[in-house]
C-alpha cells in the first residue's frame, strides 16, 4: 500500500454526487444522515413553534382544534421516528463506531447504505402524510381512534414508521455484529469506550423492540383497511392490547433515544475534566441494566387506562428500579468532574447542561411513576415537561455536545468557540424558559393536547412561548456557525481536544480506510493525566 493512496481523506475520496449517494463508507453515510436528520429536526421544530404560537392566547391563535391536533401529531411523529430515535446512532454512531473500535468499516456497509435509503423514504412518506392533510391521532395512535374513527392519513404515517423501523433494525443489527466481530486486536470489552457500550445497549433494544411496533401497526392498518381486526371491541378484540404492544416498543424506544446520549456525555466529561471516567464498569453495566429493565416498565403509561391495580403496582416498582442505573450514571459523571481540571468548552457546556436537565427530567419521571401522583399528573403538561426535559434537555443537548466534540474529527475544521458557547447557553436558557412553566401548568391541572385553555393559564403559556423563541434562536445558531466553519473554520489537528480514544489517533478528517495500520490496543480508555499543579493540590 503506498502512503499517498492510503491517506486520502474520506471527504476528498470522490467529489461526484454519485460518490456520495452510492457510498458504503460509514463516514459518508453518517454525513448523509446528518443532512437528513437536520432537515427533519427543523421540520418537526416548525410544528412545535406553531403550537407554541397557538398557545399564546387561551382561545388558540390558530383558530382550529383540527389544525392543532395535526400539528402536535406531526411534531411527535417526526421528532420521535426521524429525529430522536435515529439521531445519535446514525450520525455519530455511524461515524465513530468503526473508528473507536479500530476497524475500517461496519460489518455490513451496503446494509448501512440501505438503511439510509429506507430512512429517507420513511421521512418523505411521513412528510407526505402531513402535506396530504395530516394525521390527528397524536404520535401514540391509540385504537379505536386510529383504527375506526380518524379521518387523517393514518395508513401513510404507519407506512412511514414501518419503513423507518426497518432502517433502525438494520442500523442496530450492524452495530451489534460490528462490536462483536470487528474490535481491533487488544480491544477487549472492558477496553471499549462507554459510547460503544451505550450504542450496543441501544441496538439491542432497536433489534428486539422495533419489530413489535412494526407488527402492531400492521395489525391496526389491517383493521383500518378491512374494517375488522384484533383491537375492535365489537368482535371481542381489545383496544388495551394495542396500548400494551405499542408501549412495549415505545417505552424501550425512550431508552433508545437517551442511551446514546449517556454514551456521548461519558466521553466528553472525562475529556474536559482531564480525569479518568469514574466507575467505568458501573456506567457500562448501568447501560445494559437500563436496556433490560427498560423492557419491563411499559405498563406505567397505562395506570389510568383500566389495567389492574396489581399490574400497576408492579409496573410502578419496576419503573422506580430503572431510575437506579440512570442515577448511577449521573453520580459517576459528577464523580469524574470532582477535583478534575475542568475546561468549559462548548461540548462540556452542553454536557453539564445535559446532566442538570436530564436529572430534572429523570426525577420528575419518578413523580409520574408513582401511582397516586400519576392519577393527578397524567395527561397534563407535567408529563409534557417531564419527557421534554429528558428528550430535548437531555438527548438533544447530548446530540449537540457530541456534534461539537467530534465536529473537528468529522469535518477537519474547527468551529468558532465563542459562538459555540453562546449557542450552548442560549439553548439552556431557552429550554428552561420553555419547559419549566409547563411543569407548573401541569401541576395546576392544564391538560395536554388542547388547543384552547382556561384564561388563568395564559401568563405561564406566554412565558413558555417566549422561551420557545429563545430556544429556536439557540438551535439556529449552530446551524449558522457550524455551516460557516465548513468553509472558513480553521483546520483541525488530529486531536484538538487532547482526548483519548482511537478516533483521535487518526487524521482529521480520517482517511477512507480509517487507519493506515490496524491499531493494537494496550490501554484502558480514558487514561487522562491531570496537570501537576492540580494533582498536588
Amino acid at each position: 500500500m503506498t502512503h499517498s493512496a492510503a491517506h486520502v481523506s474520506y471527504l476528498e475520496d470522490g467529489h461526484t454526487l454519485r460518490s456520495w449517494l452510492l457510498t458504503t463508507d460509514h463516514k459518508r453515510i453518517a454525513i448523509l444522515y446528518l443532512v437528513a436528520i437536520t432537515f427533519f429536526f427543523f421540520a418537526g421544530g416548525v410544528a412545535a413553534f406553531l403550537m407554541r404560537y397557538n398557545l399564546i392566547s387561551s382561545h388558540g391563535l390558530l383558530g382550529s382544534a383540527e389544525t392543532y391536533n395535526r400539528l402536535f401529531s406531526m411534531h411527535g411523529i417526526l421528532m420521535v421516528w426521524v429525529f430522536l430515535v435515529p439521531a445519535v446512532p446514525v450520525t455519530l454512531g455511524n461515524f465513530l463506531t468503526p473508528l473507536m473500535l479500530g476497524a475500517r468499516d461496519l460489518a455490513f456497509p451496503p446494509l448501512n447504505l440501505l438503511s439510509w435509503y429506507l430512512f429517507i423514504v420513511a421521512g418523505f412518506v411521513a412528510l407526505y402524510a402531513v402535506v396530504a392533510g395530516g394525521v390527528d391521532t397524536g404520535w401514540t395512535f391509540y385504537t379505536p381512534l386510529t383504527s375506526l374513527y380518524s379521518k387523517g392519513h393514518v395508513v401513510a404515517a404507519f407506512i412511514a414508521i414501518f419503513i423507518a423501523g426497518f432502517s433502525s433494525i438494520a442500523t442496530g443489527l450492524n452495530f451489534i455484529v460490528t462490536i462483536h466481530k470487528l474490535r481491533a486486536p487488544g480491544m477487549g470489552w472492558y477496553k471499549m469506550p462507554v459510547f460503544l457500550w451505550s450504542l450496543y445497549a441501544t441496538s439491542v433494544i432497536l433489534v428486539l423492540a422495533t419489530p413489535v411496533l412494526a407488527m402492531t401497526l400492521l395489525l391496526v392498518a389491517f383493521e383500518r383497511i378491512f374494517g375488522i381486526g384484533v383491537f375492535d371491541p365489537a368482535i371481542g378484540g381489545d383496544p388495551l392490547l394495542f396500548q400494551h404492544l405499542f408501549w412495549f416498543y415505545s417505552h424501550p424506544a425512550v431508552y433508545v433515544m437517551i442511551l446514546p446520549g449517556f454514551g456521548v456525555i461519558s466521553e466528553i466529561v472525562p475529556a474536559f475534566s482531564r480525569k479518568e471516567l469514574f466507575g467505568y464498569k458501573f456506567i457500562v453495566w448501568a447501560s445494559i441494566a437500563i436496556a433490560v429493565i427498560g423492557f419491563l416498565v411499559w405498563g406505567h403509561h397505562m395506570f389510568v387506562a383500566g389495567t389492574s391495580l396489581f399490574s400497576a403496582i408492579v409496573f410502578s416498582l419496576l419503573s422506580y428500579m430503572v431510575a437506579v442505573p440512570s442515577a448511577i450514571k449521573v453520580f459517576n459523571w459528577i464523580g469524574t468532574m470532582h477535583k478534575g481540571y475542568i475546561h468549559f468548552d462548548s461540548p462540556m457546556l452542553y454536557a453539564i447542561g445535559f446532566i442538570g436537565l436530564f436529572t430534572t427530567g429523570g426525577l420528575t419521571g419518578l413523580f409520574v411513576a408513582a401511582l397516586a401522583a400519576d392519577v393527578h399528573l397524567t395527561q397534563t403538561y407535567f408529563v409534557v415537561a417531564h419527557f421534554h426535559y429528558v428528550m430535548v434537555g437531555g438527548m438533544v443537548s447530548a446530540y449537540f455536545a457530541g456534534l461539537h466534540f467530534w465536529w473537528p474529527k468529522i469535518t477537519g475544521r474547527l468551529y468558532p468557540e465563542m459562538w459555540g458557547r453562546a449557542g450552548a447557553i442560549t439553548i439552556f436558557v431557552g429550554f428552561n424558559l420553555t419547559f419549566f412553566p409547563q411543569f407548573v401548568l401541569g401541576y395546576l391541572g392544564m391538560p395536554r393536547r388542547y388547543f384552547a385553555y382556561p384564561q388563568q393559564f395564559e401568563a405561564l403559556n406566554l412565558l413558555s412561548s417566549a422561551g420557545a423563541v429563545v430556544l429556536a434562536i439557540g438551535y439556529l445558531l449552530p446551524l449558522g456557525y457550524l455551516t460557516w466553519s465548513l468553509l472558513y473554520g480553521d483546520r483541525a489537528s488530529a486531536n484538538p481536544w487532547g482526548a483519548t480514544g482511537l478516533e483521535w489517533s487518526t487524521p482529521s478528517p480520517p482517511p477512507t480506510e480509517n487507519f493506515a495500520v490496524t491499531p493494537i490496543v494496550t490501554q484502558a480508555p480514558y487514561q487522562y493525566e491531570q496537570p501537576e499543579a492540580v494533582i498536588h493540590e
Binding site: K181, L182, V212, L219, G237
Partner: protein, 213 residues
C-alpha cells in the same frame, strides 16, 4: 481467486467475514421472531376472551390441507438440510438437486395454501365481514379468529415467497459455492427453517386447538 484475498477490507480474513455474516443472520432472525410475536400473543389473548367462538372458527378450517402443508414444509427443510450437507462435502450437484426439491416443496405449500385452501375458505364465506357464514353467538369471535387466520397466513406466505426467491438465487449462483465457501447457503437455510418454525406455531393455533376442545 484465493480464499485469503476474497474478503472485504474491514475483515481480517474470509473466514472472519463468513462468521460475521452468519451472526448477522441469527440476529435478523431474532428480529423476525419478535415481529411475529405480537400476532401469537394477540391471538392467544383474544382466544382466552372468547374460547368457544375461537373453537367454532377453528373447526371451519381445512385440517387435511393443514396437515399436508405442515408435512411439506418439514420435508422441505429436511431437503434443504441435505443440500447444505452436500455442499459441505463438496457435492455441488447434490446441493442443487436437494435445493430444487426444497424449492418445489415450498412452492407446493404456497399453491395448496393460497390456490386451494384460501379459495375454499373464501367460498365458504369465512372472510370476516357482512357475508361471514358463521352465525349465532360465536359469530363475532369466529370473525376475529379468521381475521387472525388470513392476516397471519398472508404474512407467513409472504415470508415463504421471499424464501423461494432466495432459494432460486442460491441455485442460480451454485457455481460459486465450494465446501469451504458457502455461507450464503447456510444463511438462507437458517431463514428457510425459521419460516417453518413460524408455521409450526401457526399450525396448532389454526387447526388443532379448536378441535381439541
Amino acid at each position: 481467486m484465493s480464499d485469503a484475498a476474497a474478503h472485504e477490507f474491514q475483515f481480517s480474513s474470509a473466514a472472519h467475514q463468513r462468521e460475521t455474516a452468519i451472526s448477522g443472520i441469527w440476529l435478523f432472525l431474532a428480529t423476525e421472531a419478535l415481529f411475529f410475536g405480537p400476532i401469537f400473543l394477540a391471538w392467544i389473548y383474544a382466544r382466552l376472551a372468547d374460547p368457544s367462538a375461537f373453537d367454532a372458527g377453528g373447526r371451519q378450517t381445512e385440517l387435511a390441507i393443514g396437515v399436508t402443508n405442515t408435512a411439506l414444509l418439514i420435508a422441505s427443510s429436511f431437503a434443504y438440510g441435505v443440500g447444505l450437507a452436500c455442499i459441505e462435502f463438496g457435492s455441488r450437484r447434490g446441493m442443487v438437486l436437494w435445493l430444487l426439491i426444497a424449492w418445489a416443496l415450498g412452492a407446493a405449500f404456497i399453491g395448496l395454501k393460497f390456490g386451494v385452501e384460501w379459495r375454499m375458505d373464501l367460498e365458504k364465506g369465512l372472510f370476516p365481514g357482512a357475508t361471514f357464514s358463521v352465525h349465532g353467538p360465536s359469530r363475532s369471535g369466529a370473525q376475529l379468529f379468521f381475521a387472525f387466520y388470513f392476516f397471519s397466513t398472508a404474512l407467513h406466505g409472504l415470508h415463504l415467497l421471499v424464501g423461494l426467491a432466495l432459494l432460486a438465487w442460491i441455485i442460480a449462483k451454485a457455481r460459486q459455492f465450494t465446501s469451504e465457501r458457502h455461507s450464503p447457503v447456510r444463511a438462507v437455510g437458517l431463514y428457510w427453517s425459521f419460516i417453518d418454525i413460524i408455521w409450526l406455531i401457526l399450525f396448532p393455533l389454526i387447526y388443532l386447538i379448536g378441535r381439541a376442545s
